[in-house]
Symmetry: C2
Subunit: 751 residues, 2 copies
């Protein structure tokens, strides 16, 4: 709460400061937006001496020279994102920005002339350009089918304009500003308030675009519009967007509000890492511009320095290959090798605390920005300052004030567990409370499906979101979490889901041998409380850390509970009998169930169901405590998918019918390896003999894990009390356990 107040206080100060600043053009020097006059001089002085900078420059020069050789094309806009005119205008904006940088660094007029010629062509076209002919967007652009892409364009082109500002005559500048930049900025803002006047990643791009051209043009009105939104425009607070979300429930708008709202104090971005990566660039590049032109704003200190914190958070939301966890709508494979992250890492290093860990990531990216920050990074690497970027277990709160749940990541040796108990995640959120995914050395073994979309692949719905994103990917059944009565959390309704978030019960990584996270969800199914606790335990009897998963459910009514585990890889063995399907039927009718085939069904006649699989040369075992009435189902994604938009991935699902209160307990092990080259299978068997719930009442749940060495470990969870100093005492059988805090863990003992 205190943090929140301070942020508002800073905002008030900034507002006051800005309102007192006279709105006059003091004749700024250029470049001053991303490149600066002194920065460029320093860069020129270092040329040839800083390998990573020099190679980045050389690559860029080759690229741009090739484009210049091809000639300029500014086609009349007509296509969606899969098509030529879209791709061409997108490419043009990038090349202009790059050519501008080359002009500054290399002082070769051909680059400035290229930018000028292209800008003049755009100026000639834009004056009379109607709305883009494609009508699908809620806010149509002119160069592109949506204002979002027009904003992308202006963010890049502002930088190009700044670079060649002094190359142009006053009359040329006036022409461009009057006929191109100003009306362009107006179209994406005052003419498209439904796009601009919101807290949303789209608006962030819009704000940055307007603000950056404003900074170059030294137009205080545009800068204000960027920072605070369009003066006097208030949208209908009950209107909804295409995704069913409110357009602007709180009436907030502008760049500062867009920093304020989606970022938690820990730097978690509420839509998740995939969209944070996308939003990152306008946040940081505009911030860099503001820092350079309006240093008095202290933008990098805004909200306790959340912009730079968010970079650290984002890097921690990637697996060991640098791929971002596919939380909410996230396309798998997006990683910190994306150019937006080159920007983020370089800016974070330069404007932050020169963290040497960032240098190792920059070295992997093998590319730096061609500005002061990139030079600093390349110099750091050259001078041998790089150190490994060590990702640790981390808990990232969600919500503007950090009080709307969060995402916790447990890391031990090569294993990573991602546990999600966040808020809805804006319009890109999934209905996946208390779900998790798991990785080893960058290979996902229990998956979060991610989005259902093939971004920019025209044949798949123009490269846009597919129907299956809503009918499958967002639904609860697409995630490793509990589904009640075949319905999604919050009935799959965005306006309900947006009102709630899960609550952290505890996050404890103080003991490296047992790291645990625990959270509750009481709103996803009214009348039903869920409480999931996941612990990553390093035990001497196990080759690698294992995960203990306790999901306790309490309900006022009898329900059917489904708990799927979307394992990736080749099924090796199950310890229960199941009947394979002779014809394959669909599992259900809606809420994502219509997309699942049932490959086999069985029941366990022991107290544990065990599945063993092989993925990327590593064996995994899932051992779940089950009843003899639990149905064990092998499902496969792909039913009712006429265009083959979904991956044919498998799950083992535990179905428990007619239950009110119940507890699901599982152990997930990683063990051994297999190499198709040596053909040796090492440690291919599960180490778990049995997982047993030995006590399960309101106050406490106790689990025992017996291993094949006849040793055991006991874990007791306080279900109601997360006080870290509270003393507990519990007798189970003839044994009494005593401990302090929300859980007890015995360590390894003889059976």
């Amino acid at each position: 709460m205190i943090t929140y107040k301070i942020n508002w206080a800073i905002k008030v100060v900034i507002c006051l400061f800005l309102s007192l600043t006279p709105n006059i053009n003091i004749g700024q020097e250029h470049p001053n937006l991303i490149l600066t006059k002194t920065g460029v001089e320093k860069i020129r002085a270092e040329l040839g001496n800083v390998p990573l900078f020099d190679s980045s420059l050389q690559k860029l020069k080759e690229e741009v020279d090739a484009e210049i050789a091809l000639g300029i094309d500014t086609p009349i806009p007509k296509d969606y994102s899969g098509g030529y005119t879209h791709a061409r205008h997108k490419r043009n904006m990038i090349v202009m920005q790059q050519a501008g940088v080359l002009y500054q660094i290399l002082e070769d007029d051909k680059y400035a002339q290229y930018v000028k010629d292209m800008l003049m062509q755009y100026e000639g076209m834009y004056k009379t350009l109607p709305l883009h002919p494609k009508t699908r967007s809620y806010a149509r652009g002119k160069l592109f089918w949506q204002c979002l892409n027009d904003s992308n364009w202006l963010v890049y082109v502002s930088q190009a304009y700044d670079c060649i500002f002094n190359y142009l005559s006053k009359a040329e500048r006036k022409k461009l500003e009057k006929n191109l930049f100003r009306p362009f900025a107006d179209h994406i803002s005052v003419d498209s308030p439904q796009f601009y006047q919101r807290v949303h990643n789209h608006s962030t791009w819009g704000n940055a675009a307007v603000g950056m051209i404003g900074l170059v043009m030294n137009d205080q009105e545009l800068i204000d519009r960027a920072l605070y939104g369009i003066k006097g425009v208030n949208l209908d607070k009950t209107a909804k967007d295409d995704d069913g979300g409110f357009l602007n429930k709180d009436g907030k708008a502008g760049f500062l509000a867009n920093i304020e709202e989606p970022f938690s104090p820990d730097g978690y971005y509420n839509e998740g890492p995939y969209y944070q990566r996308y939003a990152m660039y306008p946040f940081l590049i505009f911030a860099e511009g503001l820092h350079n032109v309006k240093p008095e704003l202290k933008i990098f200190e805004y909200k306790e320095g959340v912009l730079l914190k968010s970079i650290t958070a984002l890097l921690n939301l990637s697996d060991s290959d640098g791929d971002f966890f596919a939380l909410n709508d996230g396309q798998k494979g997006m990683s910190y090798y994306n150019d937006a992250l080159v920007t983020a890492v370089d800016i974070s290093y330069y404007f932050g605390n020169q963290d040497p860990g960032l240098l190792s990531i920059a070295a992997e990216q093998n590319k730096v920005l061609l500005d002061d920050s990139g030079l600093a990074v390349a110099l750091g690497i050259k001078n041998g300052k790089a150190k490994p970027f060590n990702k640790q277990s981390i808990n990232l709160s969600d919500g503007p004030d950090g009080k709307q749940g969060g995402v916790g990541i447990l890391r031990s040796e090569d294993l990573e567990l991602v546990f999600k108990y966040a808020s809805q995640g804006s319009s890109h959120g999934h209905y996946d409370k208390l779900s998790f995914s798991m990785f080893e050395k960058g290979d996902e073994l229990l998956q979060d499906y991610g989005l259902a979309r093939f971004v920019n692949i025209g044949q798949k719905g123009g490269g846009n979101y597919l129907k299956e994103n809503k009918t499958w990917a967002k639904q609860t059944i697409a995630h490793n979490t509990l589904i009640q009565n075949e319905g999604s959390h919050f009935s799959g309704k965005y306006d309900i889901g947006s009102q709630y978030h899960s609550e952290l019960f505890f996050f404890d990584i103080s003991n490296k041998k047992i790291q645990a996270i625990s959270a509750t969800e009481t709103n996803a199914y009214p009348g039903t409380d869920m409480h999931r606790t996941m612990a990553m335990i390093k035990s001497p009897n196990f080759e690698k850390p294992f995960v203990l998963d306790i999901l306790k459910v309490k309900s006022k009514t009898e329900n059917q509970y489904d708990l799927p585990f979307y394992f990736l890889g080749q099924m090796i063995e199950a310890n229960f009998d199941f009947e394979p399907a002779s014809t394959m039927n669909v599992l259900g009718n809606d809420n994502g169930y219509q997309h699942l085939w049932v490959e086999g069904k069985g029941t366990s006649n022991s107290e544990n169901a065990k599945l063993l699989w092989l993925n990327e040369g590593k064996f995994y075992s899932l051992t779940s405590s089950v009843n003899d009435t639990d149905e064990l189902m092998f499902t496969r994604i792909g039913a009712n998918d006429p265009n083959f938009n979904l991956r044919r991935d498998a799950a083992l699902m535990i179905r428990r019918k007619d239950s009110k209160n119940t507890t699901f307990v599982s152990v997930i092990e990683s063990h051994g390896s297999y190499s198709p080259v040596t053909e040796s299978a090492l440690n291919s068997k599960s180490n778990v003999l049995a997982v047993k719930v030995i006590y399960d009442q309101d106050e406490y749940t106790a689990v025992i894990i017996e291993d094949i060495n006849n040793d055991q470990e006991v874990f007791i969870l306080c279900n109601l009390d997360n006080n870290t100093t509270k003393e507990h005492k519990l007798k189970i059988g003839d044994k009494t356990y005593q401990w302090v805090g929300p859980y007890y863990y015995s360590g390894l003992t003889k059976k």
Copy 2:
């Protein structure tokens, strides 16, 4: 035929020579088998100066030291290949061989003592050891469940014995030879003729084992038994083995016969690359021993130097990552990084022509043998002699005399097409005449399924062949070739398939712009002739080479023809309407059809069916000329697979019913790319406008490929005449084509 006679002549000379050599022990020096006395001296002199040799030695030393620290265990045999005793004895044989080498190179007695102690434990156990308790094998071993593994053991242990020969007293040697080695050699040979007295990879191991211990013991009787088989033993020529193959139809046996029979003059091994890799080690290591101890045999010159030729052939049977093509029973992922190929590459370099291309592979393997050959390789690399190993298009004949069909590989830029028209391939053969698979940069895009087995993964049928290998993997429907009336080639019968082979029609790679292979098969379905021609064409209108596939079928009867394409990757788009399954049914009842689900069915109302998919970041299009009565089916593997032994891979299958003579024509394109990091989709569309059969009679088949630039290419195939100098003239419409040889290709022309 001439080649064949010469080989027999050499054999006769060898026989005469050997029979004249007095069988006396001339007191050989040791080591002399793989390491030699002078070789070891040279190695010791170079130590510390040859990086790859030194690092290989260091790695080995660390491994062996760790094993020595663990102590010796020679457990009473009891397990199949998934179990402990199997793995332990297998590990022991390797470590003994390695410790022997270390003793010789490092002159540290601890290694000799370790080998001696372990051998004495084996001696103590072996004397009274009964047959292995597991009964599944047709030839049970004593240490292992099958003689094959016992033979592996003796091949390695012979080398260890040779290394510590002089470390042992005469009495110790006598004890070992009398109680362990001699009875061991007898068990796998005279006591197990059904295993030993054959032409089969099993027997090769047996021969090498007996021969290598014979060479060390200087026992001419054992050496003769190794080279020529057991004197006077003739197996029942009509008896069959577990796979349904004849045990020994021709009565041939011994190491020389095992070189003679399975290798074609080009060095192709009839079971395919996966088993060649497995058989390679005993062939080469015994040959090296023979070369060292009996140089007068000139074993590396035997059958025109086929042993060394076979290494070149094997290396050419790998994709650009070094993974072997999964022809016949082959486990995917096996590659030239396997230790057997370290042996093969080093021996090939040293005993062959010091091909600098082999050095680049050795450098990738990052490991050399610790003997003369490995030293030569490491020195070659050190001295900068390595050059890239350039794999070219190649045609490898099959059969002892090279007249039983073959395997052709077309390579152009990054694309590789593998076309199989070989003989049955012994008991590991598949019923896949005229099938193909295709690769780009090491990624398979149209797959050969390979085997159905998880080698050494105990939970999957003890790591042995699974039932599904026979019911699925060997069947014709598991391959990209023609299936008539839902039956496999040769009715899936081994003894029928073994009598026939396909015939090469032509192989022409003289023009880099169009490389082509063509073969016929007239026995797979009696009464039906198949003729498939595949050309890899580099056309200026296409980004990458494309493949033209013409499969002409002539039959006396009306049949149903199925032609599947097992594409790997994400389906992006099809140009025909299809009905997705609402419940999934099995495609058929047997011959592999019982393992296929039907995911969707459709028909084309244009003359072409087009499928576009994405695999490993590259787009592919298959465009097939179809009739409006052709059924187009999407199938997926996995039905009737109760233990999830099969991969859930997809195919598009063209089904043409009630047809006698017909021609299937397709074009396969690779185009563009997709990166999930940049999210840019380049050239994601097919370049083919239409594929049309414009003429199709007995003598000629003509195909036209029209592209989206409105250009076209014409390909005319002579169906009956493969004479390369014959002149042809054909009028189609108002155009007359004239050419020489078996095909005409127009190159690119305006439409």
